[in-house]
Amino acid sequence: MKKNCSTQERTDRNPVSVEVSGLSKKYGSQTVLKDVSLTVKPGEIFVIMGPSGSGKSVLLRQIAGLDIPTAGTVRINGHDPSDPATRDRFALALVFQAGALFNSLSVYDNLALYPLEHRLCPKPEIRDRVMRALKILSLENAAKKFPSELSGGMKKRVAIARALVMEPQLMLYDEPTSELDPVMSATISEIIATLKQEHQVTTIVVSHDRDLALTIGDRIAILMKGELRTIATASELRETTDPDVVDFLNPKIDLKNPRYQKLEAL
């Protein structure tokens, strides 16, 4: 009997929770993450912010199960994300910073790869699912194009569409608005918030984008030098008195006392 896309074998379709406890990651002698613990509730948008090199993307890779922690654990609904069986049980999608689209495949084939490889449903239904995802992201005309023919913004949207086709329970975004103009950044932020509203998907966003974080984030974690500085709601963050967090969120250009001189002193 042919399987139907809407009744695929994954019975548990609820959004998942993510629990990170005592997570540390070292590359050689360099410690990138130090004892990070946090919990992401089912269905929330959790934003991880921090200066460049603070370990945000490394943390996201650990949550996605792409790297093994040096110490500590990551659990998705109590399961280890690096175990392929966990990915069989829960659909997890990661939107990479540069898109990570398969350059040898067309946009359509990029999107159809997951359901085809996992034989989730017959080809006509896969086609419907792919075209629906492309339509949500206004990419219907790009289906036959190859990634090399797309602009940066389109690549990001294709990467989100590819994740959407997976019907994920956990959606991870790595710098979804980097290298985009303000209008496109706002568009991507709206898409992330809409997907969460419509599908109740648990969302973790790593970003530098203050507007995105404070607008769509249910809770925001600030990571500095590999350590978790705070976890707060947008309104709590606006009230914070932590000088480093204030400086990170509202940097002022001071030509009389330039910041780079302090960096050199460090």
Binding site: A93, A100, F102
Partner: protein, 250 residues
């Protein structure tokens, strides 16, 4: 000591890669399209260069052996010499060298780019094992096209030798005599020896290429290093394997 560690680490990861690829063999029906694509890319597209090279190797072999055997009055054995050299040694080796230069380099470059630009990570998050999606089709394809390439190469090489015999006056052996001497001592077991060699060489080359590509870390410069490393390692490996297989089959 560090170099030995690197060698054993590479060897271990290659064996593990082959194991992981063949563990997913039951899902082979869903990768048939990609196997066919790899047969085309690796086998069919390599055929013209194999043909040209084989023709001239056969021709040069006939010319060179013609000059040398003339001194011993054994010109009539040119066919035997060219035939056996191509079947047991030069055919498999030559096709393997071409495979390392043309297919292994392209494979390593492709997989290394995919690794560096996070396409492999994307596959993993989709729970699509790269070993099944990328490595297995290439390994199955090389097992299919390698004997065919080798046989085509050998036959074209024989004809290269025959044309030299027919048209180069001082050799004094015509094509008929050449083929008579070629077939006189050629047995099926010798052909099989050559095909076994070519299968082992081809499999090893593609495994090294895939393993090197998937182990690449860094940026564009490392992709270049990986390609060079893959081709050099493939050539060294097939020459070492050649000695041991020849000894085992002797």
């Amino acid at each position: 000591m560090k170099q030995f560690n690197t060698i054993f680490e590479g060897l271990g990861s290659a064996v593990l890669l082959a194991y992981r690829a063949f563990v997913s063999l039951p899902s082979a029906p869903r990768i048939i399209k990609r196997v066919v694509e790899q047969v085309f890319l690796g086998g069919y597209a390599t055929l013209p260069i194999v043909s040209i090279l084989s023709f001239f190797i056969g021709a040069v072999l006939a010319l060179q052996s013609g000059i040398s055997l003339q001194n011993f009055g054994a010109k009539q054995l040119i066919g035997t010499l060219v035939g056996e050299s191509l079947v047991r040694e030069l055919g498999p080796l030559m096709v393997s060298i071409l495979l390392a230069g043309r297919v292994a380099s392209a494979t390593t470059a492709e997989l290394a780019s995919m690794k560096v630009y996070q396409e492999i990570d994307a596959l993993q998050t989709m729970n699509i094992p790269p070993e099944r999606f990328l490595v297995l089709p290439r390994l199955l394809a090389v097992l299919l096209y390698m004997p065919i390439l080798t046989i085509v190469g050998i036959i074209i090489g024989w004809f290269g030798g025959a044309i030299v015999c027919e048209y180069v006056g001082f050799i004094g052996v015509d094509a008929e005599q050449y083929f008579h001497s070629l077939t006189q001592f050629l047995t099926m077991s010798k052909v099989l020896d050559g095909l076994i060699k070519s299968e082992i060489f081809g499999f090893s080359i593609i495994l090294i290429a895939c393993n090197t590509g998937l182990r690449t870390r860094g940026g564009p410069r490392e992709i270049g290093y990986a390609v060079t490393h893959s081709v050099v390692l493939s050539l060294i490996t097939i020459l070492i394997l050649d000695y041991f297989i020849t000894k085992a089959l002797a």
